[in-house]
Subunit: 152 residues, 2 copies
Amino acid sequence: MTTPGAADEPMALAAERLRAAGMRVTAPRMAVLMAVSGSGGHLDADTLRERARRITGRLSLQATYNVLRALTDAGLVRSTQIAGHPARYEAERHDNHHHFVCRACGFLRDVECTVGAAPCIEPRLPEEYDVQEAAVTFWGLCPGCRAAASAS
Amino acid sequence: MTTPGAADEPMALAAERLRAAGMRVTAPRMAVLMAVSGSGGHLDADTLRERARRITGRLSLQATYNVLRALTDAGLVRSTQIAGHPARYEAERHDNHHHFVCRACGFLRDVECTVGAAPCIEPRLPEEYDVQEAAVTFWGLCPGCRAAASAS
DNA sequence: TCCACAGACTTGACCGATTCAAGAAAAAGC
DNA sequence: GCTTTTTCTTGAATCGGTCAAGTCTGTGGA
């Protein structure tokens, strides 16, 4: 705390990032962006709404979806959609990392890209295809569920 | 056509496969298995229900889901769930191939595995993780949508 | 500083995919 | 053929997410 307004810094930063992306600066957008950035990532819309609410006071679920879409389109947020789970969001890091998903509990964590640049895998597809991204999802059991499974 | 009952052959084959998997042989199961095997693959539950109906006469959507789950669990069918689309099913080929999905129209097609064995990619994860499968999904534009996009 | 307007938020209805639950029907073993 | 157990049918419910209409609010210009 160097200044009386230190607590506002994250908000000012969020506002700056929105402005830089050419977006209007609104309370819901700042709050959601802070919620996404402030966590370890991988939170669903409803959880983000709750966290953003602590900042703005109130926020509809619909607005949360709107904001998340806008932020995703603007490249500030990355959404990860895993079959059977609600979409989860994290701050965009532009590092093309991948994900591990636990089949038992749904736990999701990052996995460093195994090869390098994006798309980090070359598909064997005709030239006419425009391949923009390769998403790799590893499925298996997290340490906890693995232990539980072998114990039973 | 070598015998009068030649038309029943696919059904007999389906029955045999169900029996081999230790499953009860029922009309819905044979019909759905035939529908999955007989197509190029990648059909959703509702479409499979329609096709199976042509064989059984009637079949509830619920039964279709039950059957598809049973067949998937038995390893006879592979389900592919892509975010934003209903689950699609294809005959299990045990060849660890991957998928390309068109962002514009949802079109899905197989892509040969780029590396080899499954899981064909080694994740950088602690040993305690039990990694069972690596699913690679390529996102982009199919030839048709690519042409449409560049034309506008 | 005030105004006007495009864009964003709230509320509430709606939707598609899938699952749950209860009772009827039908395989498989005896 | 009879019994048991699983599977199928019907109908309701759930869940994540979207659509639509009206109100509110940033933002740029007067």
